[in-house]
């Protein structure tokens, strides 16, 4: 069975519409303006998810799904935000649990309406169940079992109030697989009708379904290697906090990076796949890690000496990252010299997104937060490979 990776993009669009409905429903209830910040589809193993959610406490509701989609969906607020949420709800903090259940019900209903509308089939939702959960227990039942589950995640942001929340939907893999494959057939037809489209063109991004779990290992191997290299270079204990590979609309990547100032390095990747890799630190983290690497305290926190140190660090991280990929994919990938960046985070990545977006609307983003012990420094790695070349590499992998 083959799946067009672009079909995952189409599914992502469904999640996006659902999230917009949820935002509108909740906006009307609370009287705040809500915007969908990020919607992503990820493939992750149970183990990765457990790591990614470790140390987080969530409050929310969960529902079971039947009909157009089967599986489970969860709406979760970070436990720390719950007071902020209650303050904007009718009834205020006295409502507590019932308010959260009501909000969850409305937002999830909106979210699923978006999907049902697109699928042309009703989705039945079981009554919402309130929960308070530690770590990955927030995720729908079954998320931690098996390898390579799909998870749709949307983050909504209230422009006037502090009210972020996430929706996680875990479709049962059998029916969802059929849905994805159905979309693949649609994508192939659309490609054949296109001016330049041909059967070959439509298949350029198709990979065997089984290869999808390889995506998860790309994220993991790459970031683990990068962390090891930092450890060797700096002597600092280094860990990878989160490491997932997600399908996101490229246009969402800048807003995901955010508008805070960042410093770091950007690389162009050459080989199979080509693409870009950006390693971004907050200014404080960048200054802290640079100071740790330098023999003496630099004259200015992010001046020339720090720039050199960060470029050197970027070099070893990137080579670790792409070695990890090359090992998984059995290809060779090289990288350009580092380019130092220090600006608004989203402005830094927007030229990379622009450059890729002529050929693709969706990107595979690898998020890896790498943390060093002793020094308060963490960074985010955004890897943006060319989707066709990545699909081709996965395809070759499955043939061997």
């Amino acid at each position: 069975m083959r799946v067009d990776v672009r079909a995952l993009g189409a599914c992502n669009r469904l999640a996006e519409r659902g999230a917009e409905r949820a935002a509108n429903a909740l906006g009307e209830l609370t009287g705040s303006d809500l915007a969908v910040e990020v919607t992503g589809a990820s493939v992750a193993t149970g183990e990765d998810l457990a790591e990614a959610f470790s140390g987080r406490e969530s409050i929310g509701v969960r529902v079971g799904l039947d009909g157009g989609l089967e599986g489970a969906a969860v709406l979760a607020f970070d436990a720390e935000q719950i007071d902020g949420l209650l303050s904007v709800l009718p009834g205020g903090s006295s409502m507590g649990r019932s308010a959260v259940t009501e909000v969850g019900n409305i937002a999830l209903g909106g979210f699923l309406d978006g999907w049902a509308n697109y699928l042309g089939r009703a989705i039945d939702m079981t009554p919402p169940r309130y929960f308070e959960a530690d770590g990955a227990a927030v995720l729908p039942d079954g998320a931690l079992a098996g390898d390579g589950v799909f998870l749709f995640e949307s983050r909504l942001d209230a422009t006037g109030t502090d009210l972020d929340f996430s929706i996680y939907m875990l479709p049962d893999s059998g029916p969802f697989r059929d849905l994805v494959v159905g979309k693949t057939a649609t994508a192939a037809t659309a490609g054949a009708e296109g001016a330049r489209g041909s059967a070959a063109g439509a298949n350029a991004t198709a990979v065997p379904y089984e290869s999808l779990s390889t995506f998860a290992s790309l994220a993991k191997r790459g970031s683990a290697n990068a962390a090891d290299n930092i450890g060797m270079m700096t002597g600092l204990e280094t860990t990878v906090d989160v490491s997932r590979l997600r399908f996101v609309p490229l246009a969402d990547v800048p807003s995901e990076v955010g508008t805070e100032p960042h410093a770091g390095t950007v690389f162009e990747l050459q080989g199979k796949p080509s693409g870009y890799l950006a390693i971004l630190f907050s200014e404080e983290s960048a200054a802290a890690i640079a100071e740790e690497m330098l023999p003496m305290e630099p004259n200015e926190p992010l001046g020339g000496m720090a720039e050199n140190a960060l470029c050197e660090l970027g070099n070893v991280m990137t080579s670790g990252f792409i070695d990890g990929w090359a090992n998984v994919l059995g290809t060779s990938i090289s990288h350009s010299p580092p380019e130092f960046v220090h600006d608004i985070g989203s402005a830094t990545v927007s030229p990379l997104v622009a450059s890729l977006s002529r050929r693709q609307d969706y990107g595979f983003v690898i998020d890896a937060a790498i943390r060093t012990e002793g020094v308060q420094a963490r960074c985010d790695v955004y890897a943006l490979p060319d989707e066709r070349e990545l699909a081709a590499a996965l395809e070759r992998l499955s043939e061997t």
Binding site: N24, A35, P249, A251, V266, E268, S336, S346, S350, R358
Partner: protein
């Protein structure tokens, strides 16, 4: 992704609060005829084109990533992703909202050369924006473009465009 898409189907708020703020995402656009503040952040090599009809104060903001839709391999490219198709769409949306295309004036921001790796994108976006505006007969009344600095803009109800650069420098166009 902005919640006011080219289809513009979001219900309009009728509250008396401070002006509503509408975020315009990358490759997106929004139109306001109700005094909302249109914002877009993290402009690097992208350009923001802000259009206002001073008589009606109907305004629109586009955040485009690439110069031209020509050569897009997909069947249905997102028009707001490109300067040329995005400007056409924005003018159409403004006209639908009651603005007169003949009265529009433009402000242009962004197009920085953020990275050596992709240096050509910013200047090409600016060049195409100037050409497209000229072709549409829309006067460019102010601009803040180029350099290697990220920018954030807020398009205010009267038609002023507040620009804040990553180095903290602020100006109003």
């Amino acid at each position: 992704m902005s919640h006011l898409t080219p289809s513009g189907d979001r219900p309009v708020s009728d509250r008396d609060d401070p002006p509503r703020r509408v975020k315009v995402g990358v490759g997106d656009l929004a139109v306001s005829s109700d005094g909302a503040v249109l914002t877009t952040s993290g402009l690097g090599s992208c350009v923001a084109i802000a259009l206002v009809d001073p008589a009606t104060e109907i305004r629109g903001l586009l955040h485009a990533m690439l110069p031209s839709a020509d050569g897009d391999e997909r069947r249905t490219p997102r028009p707001a992703k490109y300067v040329d198709s995005g400007l056409d769409t924005l003018v159409d949306e403004l006209e639908t909202s009651g603005a007169s295309p003949g009265r529009l004036e433009a402000r242009l921001v962004g197009g920085a050369e953020m990275l050596d790796l992709t240096a050509a994108v910013g200047p090409r976006n600016v060049e195409r924006a100037r050409e497209s505006l000229a072709a549409a007969g829309i006067p460019l009344v102010a601009s803040d473009v180029g350099d290697a600095v990220g920018r954030t803009v807020r398009f205010l109800p009267g038609g002023d465009l507040a620009v804040r650069a990553a180095d903290g420098f602020e100006r109003t166009l």
